[in-house]
Amino acid sequence: MPRTDTMLYLDGVSVAFDGFRAINNLSLVLDKGEMRAIIGPNGAGKTTMMDIITGKTRPDTGEVFFDGTIDLTRHDEADIAMLGIGRKFQKPTVFESHTVEDNLLLALKGKRSIFPTLFHRRSTLEEDRIGEILAVIRLEERRHDLAENLSHGQKQWLEIGMLLAQDPKLLLVDEPVAGMTDAETAETARLLRDIAKTHSVIVVEHDMHFVRELDVKVTCLHEGSVLSEGSLDFVSADERVVEVYLGR
């Protein structure tokens, strides 16, 4: 498959911290419009991979391309966010001393430089968009509450809402259902499937029930490289995967 047709293209990526190889010759390709689930035990390199894609960590070697042509290793976090990659962190990070509404406002697609932001006036278009997103993440009632007062699950949703507000081409979602009730988990899966209709998504998750509900192609990472890739059934049948998860 030619690189130019991909949404995300990682080839031979390695990175080491103080001699520890967190990512080891990792190659991964995501098609446009695809949703991919990534699993792997602790320390498999999932978060580091996200860091590389979002520009937080620079790889020692290897190629990282976004949207076929953009070399991500040449850009920093803010650039990459503006190029259209949104990220949700493992630990929900919303702006706690802002209201739910302001959180979304800050994330809304728009100019990010200083003076336009300083003289920004909220348009009706933005009001509508915030309303829509609030409806999607079911936080209409809490619109004017401070984010710090939300429950854990609501914070996760708010963060997803912020991703939506950014309207990225690619969403990186790190453990979206950690700490959620079963009902919330199911709801989140539904939400992500909805999102995936119009965006490319990478979901990192431990919760196998959730991954099953997503019903997408799965990549299992181990020690910084791809161990196995395919449908969840295929991957979970892979002996190496079983070995890694259950220990030797």
């Binding site: 920093d76 803010a78 966010a81 503006m82 990070t93 702006f95 430089s113 200083i114």
Partner: protein, 409 residues
């Protein structure tokens, strides 16, 4: 409705504080100049000078609050910007002395004459011109803040490291200005001023005018800072304070946000310094001392950071206490000041304003609960809740950015 909008845009309480400042700007000079000496309501000359000094300190604290309270940059070197603004003003005032110095040298200030300088160094050129000097009052601190911030914020120097290097900056500047070879009067600094814009600095009318200008400048600075913090950029600033890397991942550049706030803050501090110098009559390198900058942090913390008007209250209160103690109980002054810091950090982590705000919120919540018991809620909620929320969001919920759960960084 328009006033209501304006009130919201600028922040209700802030507007009131600004209004009070404007009233003071008129009343104090009027009472000082118009009432006869000995009249019980007359503000004595001494008080005018003192209050003027407090207000410049308040402006410095306000400047610090913009970066510390809203962007989470704890600058331990803000005194440097204040002092640089002061030096720019001092240089103008020195040039105004002209040939009335003790050596009657028309070109050189006295201290250069007796150290055998033969000509005015190039960096003194132009300071005879008021407008140039006023420009420099803003440009010099602003430029230093820009250069310093450009490097520091882009290199992602944060937290304690940033605080310590701001301290190193002001310390290095202090040592430099102490050097006589720098051409700023060394340890003695700049003093013995005569005129400002043709008016003798020691005349009551000049003093009263300077006081009024200071109060108005402080009110203006307060309104500008308020407008900034209430804009979308202000929200980004708070976002940077609480979760810097998160803002980066949604496309903002925290380094520029910080740089903007830092430069605006430095310019405000520089203006405060420029207003300070003609009122106290001297500027010397002691203003760069790291301890002075720490004291500014303390005023801000005591008043309540992240509130804009809190630091103003803090600066005035602490300095009034200093005036009183150093006169009434000179031996106890440091015990009182030190004890105050410890007590405030332990018992009033949000400062005076934050704590009073907490009490009020609690009281209102209680009243709201009891009211809710009586009447079903929701009749005119449509306009009220946002305001309540805004009022709260202006107070940082927790004392410091660092206490927040920080994202992985």
């Amino acid at each position: 409705m328009i006033t209501q909008r304006l009130l919201n845009a600028l922040g209700g309480k802030v507007l009131w504080v600004a209004a009070i400042l404007l009233v003071i700007a008129v009343l104090v000079p009027a009472s000082n100049l118009l009432l006869p000496v000995g009249h019980p309501l007359r503000v004595p000359n001494y008080m005018v000078a003192l209050l003027g000094k407090y207000l410049t300190y308040a402006m410095l604290a306000l400047a610090l609050d913009l970066v510390w309270g809203y962007v989470g940059i704890l600058s331990l070197g803000h005194g440097a910007f204040f002092a640089l603004g002061g030096y720019a003003m001092g240089m103008y005032l020195m040039r105004q002395i002209g040939d009335r110095g003790v050596y009657a040298n028309p070109n050189l200030p006295d201290f250069m004459v007796f150290l055998n300088w033969s000509e005015l160094p190039w960096y003194w050129w132009g300071f005879g011109n008021f407008w140039f000097a006023m420009l420099m009052v803003m440009v010099v601190p602003g430029l230093l803040a820009f250069v310093f911030g450009w490097f520091a914020f882009r290199s992602r120097v944060t937290g304690v490291y940033l605080s310590i290097i701001t301290q190193a900056m002001t310390y290095a500047l202090m040592l430099s200005f102490f050097r006589n070879d720098m051409g700023f009067g060394g340890n003695n600094g700049l003093t013995d001023f005569k005129d400002i814009l043709g008016h003798p600095v020691q005349a009551s009318a000049t003093r009263a005018t300077l006081f009024a200008v200071t109060a108005i400048a402080l009110a203006a600075a307060l309104l500008v800072c308020s407008a900034i913090t209430r804009s979308k950029l202000g929200k980004v600033m708070v976002a940077v304070r609480d979760a810097e890397s998160r803002t980066r991942f949604i496309g903002y550049r925290p380094e520029y946000v910080k740089l903007f706030a830092f430069v605006v803050s430095a310019i405000t501090a520089g203006i405060a310094g420029a207003l300070y110098v003609p009122q106290v009559g001297i500027i010397n390198p002691g203003e760069f001392a790291p301890a002075n900058s720490i004291e500014v942090v303390v005023w801000t913390a005591i008043g309540g950071r992240g509130t804009l008007y809190g630091p103003i209250i803090g600066a005035v209160l602490v300095n009034y206490a200093k005036t009183w103690f150093t006169g009434a109980y000179p031996e106890l002054w440091l015990f009182a000041l030190g004890g105050l810091f410890v007590a405030v950090t332990l018992f009033l982590p949000k400062g005076i304003v934050g704590t009073v705000g907490d009490w009020r919120t609690r009281w209102r919540d209680r009243r709201a609960i009891s009211a809710a018991k009586i009447a079903p809620s929701g009749t005119d909620d449509s306009s009220d809740p946002p305001k309540v929320v805004r009022a709260r969001s202006a107070d940082p919920a927790a004392p410091l950015g660092a206490s927040k759960p920080q994202p992985a960084e």
